[in-house]
C-alpha cells in the first residue's frame, strides 16, 4: 500500500491545502507542519501560478502573497526539504500544467521523488492530455491524481481507470471557494467511480465545515479543505498557527466546535 493510500485508512480523512510561500517561505513551512501535527492526513501544497483559472478569489489572493514573498518552483522544493525535516506527512502538489511543463516533467518528478512528494493534482490536465506526463511521474513513483467533476458523466470510467493515490472529486461547478451546499448528487458520481476502481475518493471545492468533512467521509473516503485554511492565513498572515491547528483539529473531529 502506498503512503497516500495508507492516509485513507483512518477515520475522517482530512486533506488540508495551503499555497506554498503564503505569506512567506518560513511561515508557510510552519503552517504545513502545524496542519500535519494537528492531524491532517495529507497536505496539499499549491504551486502559485500567474493565472490560476480554476481558483476563486481566496486562493488567487494567496498566490499573489506568495509571489510577493519571492516564491519560485525551486524555492518550493527547498521549502519541502525543510518540511521533511519536521514531518513525514504525505504531501501532494497542486499545480497548473505549465509550471510543471516549463520546469521539465522529468526534472520536476525527480525532485518530487527525492523529497517524498507522493502526488500531483493538475487542474488543467484532463485525461485527453495526461499521457505526456503520467509515464514520467510513474517512473519516479509519483501519482498523478485525476480530477472527476460533477459534469464528467460517461467520462468517469476513462478518467479513473489506472488511477493511483486518490481521486479528486470536484464537488461543484465553477472554481475553488467556500460553499454552504455541496452538490447532493455526488453519490451517483462516487458509485460510478467505485464501479471501476478501489482508489480512494476525496471530495474538494467548497468544503469548509466539520459537518461537511464528516459527510464527505461517509459518502466518500475523505475531504479536501482549501479556501477555509487559506482564509485563516489571509486574516492573520504571520500568526495563523494556532488558528490553523484548531481548525484542522475541528475538521478531523478531534476538538469540539465552540
Amino acid at each position: 500500500m502506498t503512503k497516500l493510500q495508507e492516509a485513507f485508512t483512518g477515520e475522517n480523512t482530512f486533506i488540508g491545502f495551503t499555497v506554498a510561500g503564503d505569506p512567506s517561505i518560513e511561515k508557510s513551512v510552519e503552517y504545513v507542519v502545524a496542519m500535519a501535527n494537528a492531524g491532517a492526513d495529507v497536505v496539499e501544497l499549491g504551486i502559485p501560478f500567474s493565472d490560476p483559472v480554476a481558483d476563486g478569489p481566496v486562493i488567487q489572493a494567496a498566490d499573489l502573497r506568495a509571489f510577493a514573498a519571492g516564491i519560485t518552483t525551486d524555492k518550493i522544493f527547498e521549502m519541502v526539504a525543510t518540511i521533511r525535516q519536521q514531518t513525514d506527512v504525505p504531501l501532494v502538489f497542486l499545480s497548473y500544467a505549465n509550471k510543471i511543463f516549463d520546469y521539465g516533467y522529468d526534472r520536476f518528478y525527480q525532485r518530487c521523488e527525492e523529497l517524498d512528494v507522493s502526488g500531483t493534482v493538475i487542474p488543467d490536465l484532463p485525461v485527453e492530455e495526461r499521457d505526456e506526463l503520467v509515464p514520467i511521474a510513474q517512473k519516479h513513483g509519483v501519482a498523478v491524481i485525476p480530477l472527476v467533476a460533477p459534469t464528467s458523466g460517461e467520462r468517469v470510467a476513462k478518467i479513473v481507470s489506472g488511477s493511483q493515490g486518490f481521486i479528486y472529486l470536484v464537488s461543484s461547478l465553477g472554481v475553488t471557494g467556500m460553499r454552504d451546499n455541496v452538490a447532493n448528487d455526488l453519490t451517483t458520481t462516487i458509485e460510478k467511480i467505485k464501479a471501476v476502481t478501489d482508489t480512494p475518493v476525496a471530495v474538494g471545492f467548497g468544503i469548509h465545515t466539520p459537518e461537511q468533512v464528516k459527510q464527505m467521509n461517509q459518502i466518500a473516503d475523505g475531504a479536501i479543505v482549501g479556501s477555509g485554511i487559506v482564509k485563516l492565513i489571509e486574516e492573520q498572515p504571520n500568526n495563523a498557527t494556532d488558528a490553523i491547528t484548531k481548525y484542522v483539529q475541528e475538521m478531523k473531529g478531534l476538538a469540539q466546535v465552540k
Partner: protein, 402 residues
C-alpha cells in the same frame, strides 16, 4: 466549412501545438461542442443559414480594394486591401461570431459569453446575440474598458452586460481567464464564443474555418481582377484569427509569401512587447499548448502593446506550427510604426484602419518598395479605426474636448 489542410488530429493538434488543456469540469461540454461542430459544419441547412447571414447581414463578400495611391507612393508592388473593416460591426470578428452563435443556437443554448480585448469581438458578439435573441455577457480587462470606452457603451447599447476585469494585468488575458471561469460555473445554457484561433480544441480549428472565408474571397476576387495569385499576404496577429483567415487558402500555394505582423510594443528587445512568436516559448495555457510570453519560472508574463486587440501573451497553435514549418514569417511592428501607418493609410487612401490592422499596414510600407510593380501584396484590413481615434490623438499629445 472547408476541409482541414493542416495536420490536425482528433484532439486538435497542429504539430506539437494545440490540444485540450482545460479543467475536467468543462470537458464534457467541449466534447459536446466538438461533436456539434463536426456535425453542423457539413449540414446543408446550417451552411445555408450561415451563408445567408454572411451575405445579407454581415455584408460579405468584403471588397478587395486596389490601393493605387499607396502603391504609387511606395513605388513597388501593387497593394490590395481586403476590406474586413467594411463588414457589419466593423471588423472580421463577425465571421466567427455568426458561425459560433448559430452553432450555439443549434445546441440549444440561450446565453452567450465572450472575452474581448479592443472590443471588436465583444461588439460583434453583442450584435449577433441581439439578432438571435440571446442573453449576452462580455468580459473585458479593466484597462481595456478605459482604452476602449466607446466600445463598452456600444456593447451595452446592444443589450450586453459588460464585466470589467481588474485581476492580473486587466487586459485580454485576464478577460479570457474570467470568461473561462464563468463557463465552468454555467455551461448548460451557455456557450463561450472564443474570439480568436486559440483555446482548447475545437476552437482553433472552428474559428479558423469560420474566418477562412477571407482567403477564399481574396483568392477568387484577385483571380477575377488580375488572373493571378498574390505574391504576399500580410495580416496582423494577436491570437491570430484574421491572419489565419487571410492565409488559410494560400497555405498550399508555395509561391505566396505569408507574413504575420505581431505587436512589438516598444520593441522586441524591451520588456514592453507582445511579440509572442519572436520572444515567447512553448508552454500550456488557456487550453492549448503553444508559444507564450513567460517569465523564468513558467508564469505568464505581462505583455504590452498600444493595441488592446494584439495585447495577448499567447498565439493560436496553428500559427506556432506554421512558424515551426517556416511556412509563415512573423515580424514585430512597434507602436511607433503602427501609429505612423495608421496616419499614413488615412492620408493616402482615406481609410481609418484599426490600430491592430495598422500593424500590417506598417509592414506593407516596408515590403512594397522591395518588390516589383507587377507583383501583388494583399493586406488584410481586419477592422476599422474609429475606436482608436481618441487614443491615437492622445498618443500624439492632442487634447480632445468632447
Amino acid at each position: 466549412m472547408q476541409e482541414m489542410k493542416s495536420e490536425t488530429n482528433q484532439t486538435g493538434r497542429f504539430g506539437e501545438y494545440g490540444g485540450q488543456y482545460i479543467p475536467e469540469t468543462l470537458m464534457s461540454e467541449i466534447d459536446r461542442l466538438t461533436a456539434a461542430y463536426n456535425h453542423y459544419k457539413n449540414d446543408p441547412d446550417f451552411k445555408a443559414e450561415l451563408k445567408d447571414l454572411l451575405i445579407n447581414y454581415a455584408n460579405r463578400p468584403s471588397l478587395l480594394y486596389h490601393a493605387k495611391r499607396m502603391s504609387a507612393d511606395l513605388g513597388g508592388a501593387q497593394i490590395y486591401f481586403k476590406r474586413e473593416d467594411l463588414n457589419h460591426t466593423g471588423s472580421h470578428k463577425i465571421n466567427n461570431v455568426l458561425g459560433q452563435i448559430l452553432l450555439a443556437k443549434r445546441m440549444g443554448k440561450t446565453r452567450i459569453i465572450a472575452e474581448t480585448g479592443a472590443g471588436q469581438h465583444g461588439v460583434a458578439t453583442a450584435t449577433v446575440a441581439a439578432l438571435m435573441g440571446m442573453e449576452c455577457e462580455i468580459f473585458m480587462g479593466k484597462l481595456d474598458t478605459e482604452r476602449q470606452a466607446l466600445n463598452v457603451y456600444r456593447m451595452e447599447l446592444l443589450g450586453a452586460k459588460v464585466h470589467a476585469i481588474s485581476t492580473g494585468t486587466g487586459t485580454l488575458k485576464d478577460a479570457v481567464n474570467a470568461a473561462m471561469q464563468e463557463w465552468t460555473r454555467r455551461m448548460d445554457d451557455t456557450h463561450y464564443v472564443i474570439g480568436s484561433t486559440m483555446g482548447p480544441h475545437p476552437f482553433p480549428t472552428m474559428v479558423r474555418d469560420f474566418q477562412s472565408v477571407i482567403s477564399k474571397e481574396i483568392k477568387a476576387q484577385l483571380l477575377q481582377e488580375t488572373g493571378k495569385l498574390p505574391d504576399a499576404v500580410v495580416a496582423c496577429v494577436g491570437g491570430g484569427s484574421n491572419a489565419i483567415g487571410a492565409f488559410y487558402h494560400f497555405i498550399d500555394d508555395s509561391s505566396v509569401k505569408l507574413i504575420g505582423c505581431e505587436a512589438a510594443g516598444k520593441g522586441i528587445h524591451t520588456d514592453q512587447t507582445a511579440a509572442t512568436l519572436e520572444t515567447g516559448r512553448i508552454g500550456i495555457f488557456h487550453g492549448m499548448k503553444s508559444l507564450f510570453c513567460q517569465d523564468d519560472d513558467g508564469d505568464i508574463a505581462p505583455v504590452y502593446s498600444i493595441s488592446a486587440g494584439l495585447d495577448y501573451p499567447g498565439i493560436g497553435p496553428e500559427h506556432a506550427a506554421l512558424q515551426a514549418q517556416k511556412r509563415v514569417q512573423y515580424v514585430g511592428i512597434t507602436d511607433d510604426e503602427a501609429v505612423d501607418a495608421f496616419e499614413y493609410i488615412a492620408q493616402t487612401e482615406g481609410i481609418v484602419a484599426a490600430i491592430e490592422s495598422s500593424h500590417a499596414v506598417a509592414y506593407v510600407k516596408k515590403l512594397a518598395p522591395t518588390m516589383r510593380p507587377d507583383q501583388i501584396i494583399v493586406c488584410n484590413l481586419s477592422g476599422r479605426g474609429d475606436k482608436d481615434v481618441a487614443a491615437i490623438a492622445r498618443y500624439r499629445g492632442v487634447d480632445l474636448h468632447d
